[in-house]
Amino acid sequence: MMGRSVSFVRRLGASVVDGIWRLGFATRFMVLLLVYSGQSFRRLHLTIREIYFSGVLSLLIIIVSGLFVGMVLGLQGYETLQRFGSGDALGVLVALSLTRELGPVVAGLLFASRAGSAVTAEIGLMKTTEQLKAMDMMAVSPIARVVAPRFWGGVISMPFLAAIFSTMGVVGGWLIGVVFIGVDAGAFWSQMQAAVDFRYDVLNGVIKSVVFGVAVSLIAVFEGYDCTPTAEGVSRAITRTVVSSALAILALDFVLTSFMFRG
């Protein structure tokens, strides 16, 4: 009994120390990443290539999901609003939920599982097959050549993906509300425009998506770079990317929302 609790405390201590160790490594990694970013920006085609992989290739899932989420919002929102006789406000509901919350958050979650996991897998496999070491031996910094372009590619793609998601959502809400249910098109758009403020709603949503892009990309490249160089290590790193990204997005969303949309 005694022995078990001692070993439990010991294991707890070890995992705390390990966590601090990782945190320190992550911080050093982040500083290096920023230091080497200049170098990788000078060779823009590397970053453009990564925008292709994380942005363009995520486009389809973002468009389709955005459309569906908007359509669901249209159905559910109308169902509730018309009980209070304010079906005309459907546009407001759809647009505000998307620009403020669902756009950045859902696009961020999709981005993490589509692009973030791919980045982790790629870097992890490069580490496992000693490609990163080989690069380092060729006097080419893997952080400048492999990590930084993937990080910036993600950071640049994310706000665009979130905006596309929100736009498709509004289109989906319009499709259900105006085209199928028959909400007045004029009321739908004009109420939406009167209620959605550019700076307060749209811009804050964009800021959120940028923050999520930084968080997810950082997690993805770090997990890949830090993974145990075995097949199992890579698969665990991918899982960690998706899980930590989701947690980071939701936690950051709470923090940002409480700063942005008070009162």
């Binding site: 490069m126 490609q131 070491k133 031996m137 006097a139 910094s141």
Partner: protein
């Protein structure tokens, strides 16, 4: 290729080098030197620390004690930039090739040239084709690494390692997993490239017969120490039990078959004490 010990300073020189992964001591006082123009083999069983030794010479690991000098500079004193400058003049062939899997063969070989020089694309192209031609794969430029056989991949990695005409080329088990013909081809390539470039080479291997054909000097590593050394002729004639075990591929001898452990009887009975 003659190598007289009074020649000027060796290109690579290790003095009493110690290294440990955490608690586990891997190298326990290695002395070793490679002269300019030489091809030197480092032999030893799996897990004897040969790869670790190469990574110390490449500056990817730091010795915990002792001195590693390459081209006159003490690696432990070099900052990152100086180390990178030095590495541009080194080529390393990794144990499994470590080709960049997202690039074609051509782009793999062009990689160091594009990263480190501002040569116009036509010049890069000529250089890459020359290197690929030297390893006999000029026609394979458009293939992806996944489409290559083990021997071809090794040769591409070789072409990439010598792309910048290095002064020192390191090979980590270049023969592992090759059929006898590819093995001979790669062996001859190593010698030819070394002489053509006027470089020095370090060859980590446990293929005794192939390497004795092509090297100038051999070091045997066991348990973190150099246990024997000599020219190929001296090695063939050696009566040292370790060398004998290795050259004649005997299962047991000074190189133990077992990873260090308590005796098996004790392990099996230990649980019931």
């Amino acid at each position: 290729m003659s190598f007289d010990p009074t020649h000027d300073e060796p290109l690579v020189c290790l003095k009493d080098v110690h290294f440990a992964y955490g608690e586990r001591s891997i190298l326990k006082g290695i002395d070793l030197s490679v002269r300019r123009g030489q091809v030197v083999a480092i032999m030893g069983g799996s897990g004897s620390g040969k790869t670790t030794l190469l990574r110390l010479i490449g500056g990817q690991l730091r010795a915990s004690q002792g001195e590693v000098r390459v081209a006159g500079s003490d690696l432990s004193r070099l900052g990152r930039n100086d180390l990178y400058a030095l590495r541009r003049r080194m080529g390393m062939l990794f144990q499994f090739g470590a080709l960049f899997t997202d690039m074609t063969v051509y782009d793999n070989v062009a990689f160091p040239l594009r990263e480190h020089t501002d040569l116009p694309p036509e010049v890069v192209r000529d250089l890459v084709l020359m290197k690929l031609d030297a390893v006999g794969l000029r026609g394979a430029g458009a293939l992806m690494p996944a489409e290559l056989s083990g021997g071809m991949a090794r040769r591409v990695a070789l072409a990439r390692a010598v792309a910048l005409d290095p002064m020192l080329i390191m090979y980590d088990e270049p023969f592992a997993g090759l059929d006898p013909i590819s093995l001979g081809v790669v062996g001859q390539l190593i010698r030819r490239l070394n002489d053509a470039l006027g470089a020095s080479s370090i060859l980590v291997t446990h293929d005794v017969h192939e390497s004795l054909e092509i090297v100038d000097y051999v070091y045997f590593v066991s348990d973190g120490r150099i246990v024997a050394a000599g020219s190929p002729d001296e090695i063939r004639a050696s009566t040292d039990p370790f060398v004998h075990q290795f050259v004649h591929a005997e299962i047991d001898g000074p190189v133990p078959f077992h990873y260090p452990a308590e005796p098996i009887a004790q392990a099996l009975l230990g649980g019931r004490g």
